[in-house]
Structure formats: C-alpha cells, structure tokens
Symmetry: C2
Subunit: 603 residues, 2 copies
C-alpha cells in the first residue's frame, strides 16, 4: 500500500492537465526508442514522456514536447522498465545499502527487495530498523521483507535477538517493509512439524498478521513436494515464493502449486539454468517465474553487472529476451503488488533502462523517478553517507578466549572416534562423517593428514557465552586458522584451525575488531578485515576495496594450504541449521534432520 | 484485503495438521481428474483434496483419504477453477442477486463482480447497500465495485441521488465492496476535461481514497487512445480496466498501456471476437485479457449458460482452451487481488468446476467453498429469499401526468423543423437528424410515415419533476406507446409513442406500478411488468418468468408496428449521456459531444 505514490491527488491532477491541456508539456521525452513492452511481450518503436517522477505517455509523445522539455534521441536503442531484484541480502556483499546501490544501479537495477535476515539475526529490530533508515538515503527503490523468526532453529542456536510474532507489529511497519522474508522456520517442514510444532504456531500468527495488513510473505521450500509443500504454502498465508528451488522437477511442482519461483542466479548458488527448463522444455506459463540473486559479492557486481547479467544468462538458456525481462519487471511487480513499478505505461514511476542490445544486455543509461542516475556503467548521482548507530557497530559482546576454550576434550587416551562435518564444495549441504583422532593431554587433535581440523562457533551477543565445538573435513588447511563473524544465520563467530592456538588468536582478533574476518598463522595475523556494521558489513571500504581485501584474505588461506575455493563463504554456511545434515552452532554439533545436538565424540 | 479468508490462523493451523499428520484426512477428494492448471497453462492428471472451504492439495491425494473422506471419482473429467465474471450488472437481467445466482451457478460461475451502477443512480447508497446485503445470502462469491459519480453527467440529467467523493468512505466500506466501478465520468475524456473539469477533481479524490485503502478502480475508456487514454488511466489511479473496447486496434493500444481489457461478450454487446485478435493474430501476452458479460438477460443464461458459454466462444476464435479459461480465472484474480480465488492450489478456496469436455464447456458439477452447489445444470442448494427494504421498493415519486405534459409545443403553425434522435440498431451511439413535422393545435405531432415518434424522459425521484421531450426515429412504431423505468444510467421514466395519449397512459402505468414496463394501445394497457426493486428488477418473477414476460412485451410492441429488435433495451439506452451524439434526459435533448442541452425544435 505504501507502494502507490499515485494516490496523491495533486500529482495525478497535474499529470492529467499535462496530457489534456495542449499548452502544457512533459519534462523529459525519450524519443525513437525500441520499447520493451513487458505487458504484451512485444518490442514496439516509440517515445516515453515523463513528468516529474512519472511516465505520462508511451507511444508517440510529439504532442508533449514543449520548449522546456528535455528531449533525448535514443536512436533506436532498447528501452526497458528498470530491473527488480526480488530477493537479495545486502549482508552477502558486505556492503552497505548505499554502496550496493552505487554498484548495482548502472546495471539497470532500480529496485531491490532486501531481506535483512542477517542483521535481523544479529541485532533484531534495531538492526533491521537501521538498515531501513539507510534505505531512505538512496536513489533506487529499496524495499524490505523482514524475518519473522530468529534464530532459524530455536533451541539449537543463539541469535542476537529472538524475533517472533511479538515483534511483527513493530518491524512490519518500518519504512518500506512490504512483508515477511524467507520463511526459514518451516522450510524443513517434516522435522519442524515433528520436533517444534510451536514454531508453526508462531509462524501462522506472524504471517496472518502480515497478510491482514496487506503485506506479502516469502516462502522458502527447498526440496518440498506434495503435502509438505502444500503445508508450507498454507503456513505462508497461501501465496508464497521460493528462492531455494534447484531442480527442474521441483520447479515444475512449485509452479503448478502456485508458488512464485524465484530462480536464483547469484554469485554462488546458480539455479536458473536448471529451473528455467520448466519454461524452455515444458513450455509452462512463465508469469510466476522471477529471477533473483539472493547473494552477490562486490567483485561480481563490478565484473559482470547485476540483474542485466542474470537476464543475459537467462536469454542464453533459450528464453525469449522480452520474456526474460518480464521475469525481472512485471512478474515481480505482480507478486509484490508494486503497482507503480515494473512496466512502462502511463502513471508508472519513471524507472527506465536504456540498452544497446538484448544479447549482451549492455546498459547505457538508467533513470529512476524520471531522473538520470547512471551513464556508461557509472552512477552519476551523489549518494549521501548514512551513519549507523553505535549499537549496530558494537555487536560483539564477549571476552577474549584461550585455546582451552576451543578444545574438544576427553579423558580417553590414544585415539577417539569423532564426528566430523564433511564440507561439500558449492553446497549448503554437508556429510556426516566419522574419524579416529589422536588425543594429546586430554585434547582431541586435528589431523591434517586426513584433512580434519578443529572447528568452533562462539556466541557473540553477550547472551550465554556458549561455545560449540566439532571437527570438519574439506578445507585442506595444513596450518594456521581463520575466523569470521559471518556464520549463517545467527552470525556468531565461527572459526576453523589446524591448531588451537592460532584459532584462538583468529577468534580474538574478530572479537577485538568488533566483528570481521581474520587469518592467522604461527601466532601472527596474516590478514584481516573489519566488518563494523553488525559484524557483517563495512562502511569503511568501497566495493572495489572489499573485493581487494577478500582476495588478500583468500590468498592467505591458500598459503595455509586451503584448497576449497571461497573458504570464507563455505565456513559461514557451516552454521546454517536449515539444511542437512550436520552443522555447527554455539550449541555444538547439530543433527539437522533430527533437530538435536550431538556430542563431537562418539560415545 | 477482505478477500483473504486464509488470514484466519486457526484454519491455517488445522489445514497444516491435516497435511502433515498421517492420522488426519481430507473431507473431500475429487480423484482422477484432468486438472486445468491455469498457473502453468497445462492440463495435468491428478486429484484435488479439500478440507472445509479450502483446497488442501492438488496432485496425488491418496495419502489424504481416510474413512470419513468423501471420494468422488471423476473418471478423467476436466477440473477447472470456478469462473469469474469480472464485470456485470444484476440490473440488466432484471433479476435479484439470488435469482441470478441460481441461474448462473450451474454454468460454473462461482464469482461475480457486480457494478450496482443502476441501483446506485436510482437510489444512491441505500440502493447499493441493499444489494450488498442480499449478496450475503447467496452461496457464490459476490463482490461489488461501486459508482463514484452519479449521475454520469451532472448538469445534464437528474439521478435519484448524487454520488460524489463525499460518499466514498461510506459505500466503499459496505460488505464485499472491492473498489470503484466503471469510471463513467471520464470516459468521454476530451469533453469532460473541457466542459466539466470539476468532475475530474472529484474523481481523483474518489479514486485516490479507494487506492489508499487497497481497493481497485475499474476504468471505462471507449475509443480512447494516446494522451486521452493515458489521462483516463491516471485518473483511475494508474491501474484500470476497460470493458468498452470494441476494436482490435483499441485492444492492442490498451494492452500496451497496461489496461486490463475486459473483453465483453454479453447478451447484447459482443466485442470479444474483435478484441481477441490482439492475442490470436498479434500473439500478445494475454495475462491482462479478461472475459466479462457486462449485461446478460435471463433468457440467455438459461439457453446458453454464462461464463462457460463466453469461454466456449473464445475457444472458437482460436484461443487455446486453457488460455481462455485463464481469462475467467487467474487473470481476473490477479486484477482484483483475489488471492483466494482463480486457481486450483493449496490454500485456495475450493471453488471447482467439473466439465466433460473443453469444446462445449459443458459443466457437470460445481463446488463452492468445498460444497457441491450444482449438478447437471441445476443449482442444488437452497438460496434464501432476501426482502428488500420498502424504500428500495417505493422508488417512483411523481404524480401522474397528462398528454400535455409530454407534448413539444410551438406557437408556429404548419410544419416546423425538429431535431430527431436517430436510433442505430445494436449500438449505444445515435445519429443527429432533422425532420419537418406538422403542428396541430400548438403541439408538434409524430409522423409515423417518416417513422418519427414522440419521446420523453421524466424525472421520477421527486427531486424536480423535470420532463425532457424530443423526437426519435427508428422504432417503426405505427400506433400506441411504451414506457419503462429503465433508462441508462439515471433510470428516470423513458417513453416513446405514436400518440401522446397512449404515451401518457404508458408513463402513468409505470408510475402506478412503482416502476416497470408498460405497452399501451388505444388507451388500453396491452402488457406490463412490475419492477418493484428500484424500478429496475423484480423479486416477484423467476428468471424463466421474466423471459416469458419480456417475450410478451416484445410481441405487443411488434403488434404496434415496432420493427427494431429488443426495442425496450434500445429505448433504455437512449438516455445514456456518455455515448454520442444525441440522447434524451429529463433535462431534454442532450448534445453529448458539446455537453449541452438542445431544444427539440430548430430555432
């Protein structure tokens, strides 16, 4: 409802006057374009006339050109509605809202629907509110869908704040909040129903309230089919999306059941080429297909672009270019009830992208609310800086630790059987492994020969000082350690180490920095990066500098023997309790399917 | 917002339990169907499981069949979501809401979006409210879009009540009112802008309020293109429909500009076969194409069916059957934001139609809210009678008149030049004609040789006792007269006569009956029909009886020499001031394009 600026009667009356009165004119006319009409799935030659923030007319706008009208001759270039990213997390980029805006606008992204899931887990309503406040300062349209449950798995992990239905009245009414974000709590439907039915009770209250005030609810239904999928849809209030669909058959099932499938194509997880087969191979109606990024890193934004790159890749899969553009314009606008966005038509907000062709989706100019904001891959408007409140910047509340705190201990000697989390490259899923490890002075040791190292997750919000301990296989680390305050979704401090001393130092640096990433070897810090905002994002570095810094951190990890690519991201997802099979939280080793905590040692 | 029953958390929790708990079951399973999936534009074999009013699951529902579950084996029949008529007037059928429900439900129509434009003109909020109250008693889903301006042309005609923006807060909040209906006031954009800009001021206030509380606004943009169409769209708040689109090019223009084109296919005006060419010939995306009836007579409902017949005819034009069904299900559901209707999917209201094939669209069974309501063309549930308030039934407030009251008088003798409205068969448009007529005793006479007869429109709401007088050509009447209290859109009493004496009697019978239709010859009433509800509808006759009575009335008019088919309908539209060029109201002869009243005689 907050998404309809045309409610304003004065503005509407003025637009009508300009259209009907032969002595009044448009502010801006983009003429001689090839207009991508996502309403009719056509490309039609024509002009676009703009008055203030709104489109007056699409077609022949010659009658609206007066002496004061700025006229831009597009010389046959393509004109598209601005692109919408329907599901993204600023936190994944480690960038602020304004820095992400600066980097993504030149690619034609005019609207972001952000899920502040990470800052919500870390800081609760205060964190979410700060982020929505920052969004007031940017030229693009930033909307939010907020978490209704933190942590994802109550009783198995500690978040900085426990969001439940009690918080909905407050956070659903923050600036530009249009609904509830990914419904993590019931994504693992069978196990939650069996083990934590009270979560469902709370979710239906939250989603019911959201729907009652006209908000949307995003679902999150990885690998759900049949009755479980139906239950998830109903839990979400009857109309949900899913951005965790990875297989063609899963996509077909969800589209048939009325789910808006958010085909994910971000920096890490790329599911579009599989999902899109429902359209390209089965010829299904694509009106509920939507392209999203979920997680993007700064480097990719700079190198490849943003939604324009996702569209380009979708076209490569054999989708008609206009149909692909529908998936980032009119389709999400319909889902989110954005009546003012997503199409080029009278009365819509003048968010316009000029492209030189539809093969490379090369964006030349971007207009938001009738004003040009980008030219040739550069944002050309000033974006003011927002100063986050001190509470958001002081998110790490625990004393330093020592190596004893991180150790898995036993009274046994010789070798013991340990449970080991097996990392699977490029997946959130893990394997449940077992290995025999040496005991030294009561401490179970890593074994780099077997590629098994120490792992810990430390509560960092001053709530209980929990430390979860386990072993992990798959990083390749031969020496040293690294730690970070990014650990999905609760974002406690997570660390791995070939030895406990370096690991303790890495953790302590993260504590000292009040959030960040640190790589340590031989009692020395090799590289580090501060993440002052909730321990997740930086307001000190630009996107380019973040990219540089991450390269440096990754190089240091490689020097320690690290073999897996994107080790920091893999580490951060080892705390995610919503995907099977074994994970680590501040409670310890988590058996996801059985919704329980396991000891790190067998017996 | 009032359209989302799944907000109810108790219901949702119960549905989730049935789906997840292996010891709980569906109430009803329709098994072995060919499910018309309007989400994906497919037909997929499967079952539908229902609990209470809602669909639990679509697909294989074997796991939801328990001992108490009623199982219906569809033996491969087609299963469709219930059909939606997105724009209709009960008044056109002369039937009450409940009688229309009884006749239309067996054809698969489960949802009606009614525009109480006629009763609103006649009785204002009180009339609209009574109709919405009746809608509470019927098993189908009846929603309303209400007029925001009566009469259509203030200053040129008298309605029973002047609805303006001052009334919106009240009537937009009546039961099941989802928005503002056809935006008559700005359909004739150029002339209204020039002559009555204050109408636009008021419309933007009304539509702005409607949008601000989440309601929709139907447009009405006959023959509008370019800037005028854009102004109409913006006047309606940015997202409008149009049910007055008659030409392919007009349909293309409107779809490109984001208008939801309501392709009309009712008893009288049939525009679908022309409009649909935008889809069949141009291949345009049909997501904003919607099929509506606008005006249906009882006879056609019985003979041909309702939305199933409209779909059948659309398929005949070469449209894929599932795509045609989308135009009466998911497409209107998207437009009206009916999240609970229009698709067969988990959590949706169980409005289900069983068809034996998609060529004849023969409906065998209909379910509404999970309950069977029709079988083999008969409604099988009892629909209680609603008693309209006495104020609605006493709508004619004027004394009887005499022939002098109806006469066009002059001081001239011999012949005078008179303005004559030329009826065009099957159109709302008229011609502006002129003829020389004899004067007898100061009264200008009809001339049946030239097919020119008397015509009058008498204000009937006790507001000013206006009588408009003029001449008309095209009915073929040689003797007698007829009158009716149906005269679009103000519904004063309209009458034509070969002589004034019979005409006065016909008018007086309508006054005596408190609304209705009367045919008179030689000072005797040949036939008549009471229309007690607002002078527009009957609660005394069934649909079948109305059909019989209308046949009798039409036969009597034919006996008087009447040549035009449907003379009562043609007469009633001669008062419609929103379509060119000459019309009659209680103010007199109306020059529509110049928004002015003309004298019946030249000079």
């Amino acid at each position: 409802m907050q998404t309809e600026p045309l409610k304003d009667t004065v503005t509407r009356r003025k637009l009508i006057d300009v259209l009907m009165n032969k002595a009044m004119y448009a502010d801006l006319v983009l003429k001689n374009g090839k207009i991508i009409n996502v309403l009719t799935r056509e490309i039609v030659a024509g002009d676009i006339a703009v008055k203030g923030e709104f489109i007056l007319k699409v077609g022949n706008a010659a009658d609206l050109i007066g002496q004061e009208t700025k006229v831009v001759d597009l010389q046959g270039k393509f004109v598209s509605p601005g692109f919408i990213d329907s599901h993204m997390h600023f936190e994944s980029s480690m960038l602020t809202v304004s820095e992400f805006a600066r980097l993504s606008i030149p690619s034609g992204t005019t609207t972001l629907v952000a899920d502040p899931h990470e800052i919500g887990n870390a800081l609760g309503p205060a964190g979410i509110k700060a982020m929505t406040e920052e969004a007031k300062c940017v030229p693009n349209n930033v909307y939010f869908v907020v978490p209704c449950l933190t942590p994802d798995s109550p009783g198995l992990e500690t978040a900085g704040y426990d969001i439940t239905s009690k918080d909905m009245e407050e956070i659903l009414n923050y600036y530009n909040v249009i609904g509830i974000g990914e419904l993590q709590g019931f994504s693992n439907a069978k196990h939650v129903y069996k083990n934590s039915p009270e979560i469902i009770d709370d979710l239906v209250v939250s989603t019911g309230y959201a729907k009652s005030i006209g908000k949307i609810v995003d679902g999150n239904a990885p690998e759900l089919f049949g009755s479980e999928l139906a239950a998830h849809i109903i839990c979400g209030g009857g109309v949900v999306s899913c951005h965790e669909t990875t297989k063609k058959e899963e996509c077909i099932e969800k589209l048939r059941q009325g789910v808006y499938v958010f085909m994910r194509e971000g920096s890490t997880q790329r599911n579009m080429s599989e999902c899109i087969k429902a359209v390209t191979e089965e010829g299904m109606d694509s009106r509920r297909c939507i392209l999203v990024t979920d997680d993007m890193v700064a480097e990719d934004l700079e190198k490849y672009g943003h939604m324009n790159d996702v569209v380009r890749r979708t076209i490569t899969q054999g989708v008609d270019p206009v149909e692909a553009i529908q998936m980032v314009t009119i389709n999400p606008a319909a889902y989110f009830k954005f009546e003012h966005l997503g199409v080029l038509a009278p009365g819509k907000q003048a968010d316009i992208v000029i492209l030189d062709n539809l093969q490379n989706m090369n964006v030349q100019q971007v207009y938001i609310k009738g004003k040009q904001v980008a030219e040739n891959k550069k944002t050309i408007v000033h974006i003011p800086e927002y100063e986050y409140p001190i509470t958001v910047k002081m998110s790490v509340k625990r004393e330093k630790i020592n190596l004893q705190d991180l150790a898995v201990k036993t009274r046994k000697t010789g070798k013991v059987a340990a449970r080991v989390i097996g990392v699977i490259p490029d997946q959130n899923l893990t394997e449940a492994l077992q290995a025999n490890l040496f005991v030294d002075n009561g401490i179970v040791m890593a074994d780099t020969e077997q590629d098994i190292i120490h792992m810990a997750c430390l509560e960092r919000y001053g709530r209980n000082k929990n430390i979860g301990r386990a072993f992990v296989k798959g990083f390749g680390l031969k020496k040293g350690a690294f730690a970070e305050s990014i650990a999905h979704d609760t974002h406690n401090i997570i660390a791995v180490g070939a030895n406990l001393e370096d690991m303790a130092l890495a953790v302590n640096r993260v504590i000292e920095m009040n959030g960040g990433i640190s790589v340590v070897n031989n009692k020395k810090v090799l590289a580090e990066m501060r993440l002052p905002i909730a321990g997740l994002m930086t307001d000190e570095l630009s996107g380019e500098e973040v990219t540089q810094k991450l390269m440096e951190l990754h190089e240091c990890i490689a020097q320690l023997g690290g073999t897996i690519h994107a080790p920091l991201m893999h580490l951060s997802f080892l705390a995610l309790t919503t995907s099977p099979v074994w994970k680590i939280t501040d409670y310890g080793l988590i058996d996801v399917d059985n919704y329980t905590v396991l000891p790190p040692l067998v017996d």
